[in-house]
Homo-oligomer: 223 residues x 2
């Protein structure tokens, strides 16, 4: 439980991203922000709608210093987004941390919160290009193999984007940290590691007899 | 893409939990709500703080018709909670769904959103009892093996609870659904299944030489 210096505190990009609880787990560098964002395609977006701070699970992708996500042009979130600051959270559960005292139970995790205003992409060509990056970011080359996209499909799709500049991360790794005097307590302590597992792809029963699985489908990983 | 009847729509416990997008994936029965809540200990809580709809990743547990989560008595969320309706979201990513058209890409998932007002537990004995249920819910019998909890630790801990009555679920399973005319397009379609993997427990290097791992640590599962 090392204490950060005032110097390090000042690294937070804004007052409101300044981590207070367990502040020794905080990271504000863009390298860590990007590493956590690139570990999983799943975000949880906080957006006020009808008086409720809704949390919507959503796929996203990163391009440079921005994150992007998509949905229905008629979806309520893509209307509400433009009029408020939102919170874009990505978290990975890496393990259950078993201590000698209940109070020091914990989990190993990586998380990032992005704050700020999202923007909608309006240009149809730009939307198509972004969707291509989304698909090919998950499975390289896939966009080019697919039935070409129709203009009406691009129209029906909303894409939001947000800067990753105003960001804070928290990262916990390693064994439990017990109170000094508890290390003599005779209970088992340690970590149960948790991660995502990608299982062998299951072909659609309706696949044409002569199609074969692209190698990049087999290479899909997350974590 | 079956259409729900008005009858089925009316199953939503409230107007605001009524699923509109991909409404054929909606489930409102408490059995499904509980099954999804019991699949993972990780929730994302939406709570308005300082004008931002913050999304906080948090462990939780369920007892009967309520969910519970814990943190610091000095934490900002446990103060903000009592004055607003919040959104408590639990999601599981089960697979990446690869279609023949980009538009019909999807993922398999289970998610639940709970809406309503959370309450704080104030009574110290009740807090201790709930924390015991939290710990033993993850690893049966663990609370009794640990260094007994101190009253000051219970005091430092805030516990919030919320009803699971106002809930909606969305569940997607199975292969991609392509447009009829696209089934002749010669690209590979299918599902890449994803799940949590629990790895072998890693003992704390500072464990006493004669402690042994409780069997229930080995039995820990999620998904
Ligand atoms: C998998 C997982 C499980 C967790 N389980 C619990 C739990 O059971 N109980 C619990 O109390 N906490 C848990 N946490 C930590 C939790 O997400 C919060 O960090 C913590 O509760 C403090 O919240 P706060 O709003 O009071 O923090 P504060 O320190 O007051 O928040 C100030 C600022 O710090 C930043 N910040 C806060 N939390 C995070 C975060 N997680 N990631 C990145 N930036 C952040 C934000 O910019 C925020 O505006 C868990 C986190 C993860 C990833
Ligand atoms: C792992 C995962 C990935 C996803 N990826 C995407 C994505 O990339 N793009 C996308 O558009 N959507 C995605 N979704 C679905 C997303 O969570 C929303 O359901 C969808 O975007 C519609 O949101 P809405 O607010 O417009 O829905 P509406 O139908 O307008 O919401 C009305 C009500 O339906 C209920 N509801 C809405 N969404 C959910 C939900 N997920 N679970 C339970 N109840 C719900 C709530 O009670 C809400 O108040 C994903 C979901 C999961 C679990
Ligand atoms: C790359 C992989 C993709 C994944 C994993 C994905 C996943 C999803 C998911 C999970 C939803 C939400 C469905 C629901 O509400 O339950 C969704 C909605 C949507 N997707 Fe995608 N998608 C992908 C690519 C695309 C592309 C390339 C397009 C456009 C060409 C597109 C257009 C849409 C639209 C318009 C909706 C909203 C549907 C509605 O609410 O009526 N998606 N997508
Ligand atoms: C059962 C397993 C438990 C797990 C997985 C767990 C996990 C966590 C996590 C991840 C945090 C957040 C740390 C951070 O902000 O980065 C936390 C905070 C906290 N936990 Fe637990 N916990 C558990 C049990 C308990 C118990 C039994 C108690 C009390 C006896 C307790 C008391 C606290 C307190 C007071 C905080 C706030 C610390 C602070 O912000 O200063 N926890 N816990």
């Amino acid at each position: 439980m090392t204490d950060q210096t005032d110097e390090e505190y000042r690294e937070a990009p804004s007052d409101r991203t300044h981590v207070k609880r367990y502040h020794w787990l905080a990271r504000y560098d863009q390298e860590t922000v990007k590493a956590i964002l690139d570990a999983t395609p799943l975000a949880h977006v906080g957006c006020m709608m009808n008086g409720v701070p809704f949390v919507t699970p959503t796929f996203f992708w990163r391009e440079g210093d921005r994150v992007y996500w998509h949905g229905s042009s008629a979806g309520r979130m893509f209307h509400a987004l433009e009029h408020q600051d939102i919170c874009f959270t990505v978290s990975m559960l890496d393990g259950l941390v078993i201590a000698r005292s209940a109070y020091n139970f914990n989990c190993n995790f990586r998380s990032v919160m992005l704050l700020g205003r999202a923007e909608l992409i309006k240009d149809e060509d730009e939307k198509a290009e972004k969707l291509r990056n989304f698909v090919n970011g998950l499975i390289p080359g896939e966009w080019e193999r697919l039935r070409p996209v129709y203009p009406k499909e691009i129209k029906a799709t909303a894409i939001a984007s947000m800067s990753i500049a105003e960001a804070s991360c928290k990262v916990r790794t390693g064994p439990p940290i017990d109170d000094d005097e508890d290390y003599t307590h005779p209970s088992w302590a340690g970590v149960i590691p948790i991660r995502y597992q990608v299982l062998p792809p299951e072909p659609d029963p309706r696949n044409l007899p002569d199609v074969s699985m692209p190698e990049d489908v087999l290479k899909f990983r997350l974590g």
